[in-house]
C-alpha cells in the first residue's frame, strides 16, 4: 500500500511500472481498488 497519497492519475501508471520491474505483486495489487477488474 502506498505510504503517501497518490495525487495524480498518471502516477498510478508509473507506480504500476515500478512495481512490475521490482517484481512486487503486493505493490501492484495495492494500486487497485478492492473490487477492480483487470485484463491481460
Amino acid at each position: 500500500m502506498s505510504e503517501t497519497p497518490i495525487n495524480r492519475p498518471e502516477d498510478v501508471v508509473v507506480m504500476f511500472v515500478e512495481a512490475w520491474n521490482h517484481r512486487d505483486p503486493d505493490a501492484l495489487a495495492a494500486l487497485f481498488d478492492k473490487d477492480a477488474e483487470s485484463s491481460t
Partner: protein
C-alpha cells in the same frame, strides 16, 4: 493480450504474483506517451503505451507496444487514487475505424464498432459499471486519443536494475494532460 480477466484486488495480486515469478520473471516494462483525460472530479482515464517486454519465458522477446488504458478514481482505500484497469485492442479498433472511413462508411461506424466490441471477451453488459465503457464510449475515447498530440518518446521509467523505492514519491514525466486533474 490473452483476454483473461481478473476480478478483485486479491485475485489480481495472485495472478500477477504468478506472472512475475513464472512468465515475466526476466522482463522489464516501460510506459511511454502518457496521456490523461479527466472525466469528472473523481475519475480520470490514463492512456499509455507499454513497451519492451524482454526475456519472456527464456525467449528474447520484444513485443510491440500495445496501448493500455487505466481508469483511475479517487479512493480513500488505496492511497488517494486507485486503478480499475482494462487492456483493449485499441490498435485494432483504430485500424478498423480508418478502413471504414476510407471506404466512405463512416455513418456505419458505430454500429460496426458495437459488433466488433461484442466479439471481445470482456465484462457482459450486465456486469458493466461506471468504469467499464459502453462500446460507443470506446469509440469516443479512440477519437480523444487520435486528436491529442503525441509527446516525445521518453526513457524507461524504471528498470529491474534500479534500486527499490517505496511509492509516494514525485514524478516528473512528459505527460500530456488533456484535461488536467487538480
Amino acid at each position: 493480450m490473452t483476454g483473461l480477466w481478473w476480478h478483485t484486488r486479491a485475485k489480481i495480486r495472485s495472478a500477477r504474483a504468478y506472472g512475475l515469478t513464472r512468465i515475466f520473471k526476466e522482463s522489464s516494462l516501460q510506459a511511454t506517451d502518457l496521456r490523461v483525460k479527466r472525466l469528472s472530479d473523481e475519475i480520470a482515464v490514463v492512456h499509455a503505451h507499454e513497451a519492451h517486454w524482454l526475456g519472456v519465458s527464456r525467449r528474447d522477446h520484444h513485443a510491440a507496444a500495445p496501448l493500455e488504458r487505466a481508469v483511475i478514481r479517487r479512493s480513500s482505500d488505496a492511497g488517494g487514487l486507485a486503478m480499475r484497469r482494462r487492456q483493449l485492442p485499441i490498435e485494432l479498433l483504430r485500424r478498423q475505424l480508418r478502413d471504414q472511413e476510407r471506404a466512405g462508411e463512416a455513418d456505419q461506424r458505430r454500429r460496426s464498432m458495437r459488433a466488433f466490441a461484442a466479439q471481445e471477451r470482456g465484462p457482459s453488459r450486465a456486469r458493466m459499471n461506471e468504469f467499464a465503457f459502453h462500446p460507443e464510449a470506446e469509440v469516443d475515447l479512440i477519437e480523444i486519443w487520435d486528436s491529442s498530440p503525441r509527446t516525445a518518446s521518453m526513457p524507461p521509467i524504471a528498470s529491474a536494475t534500479t534500486s527499490p523505492r517505496r511509492f509516494g514519491g514525485s514524478f516528473e514525466l512528459p505527460t500530456k494532460v488533456i484535461d488536467g486533474m487538480t
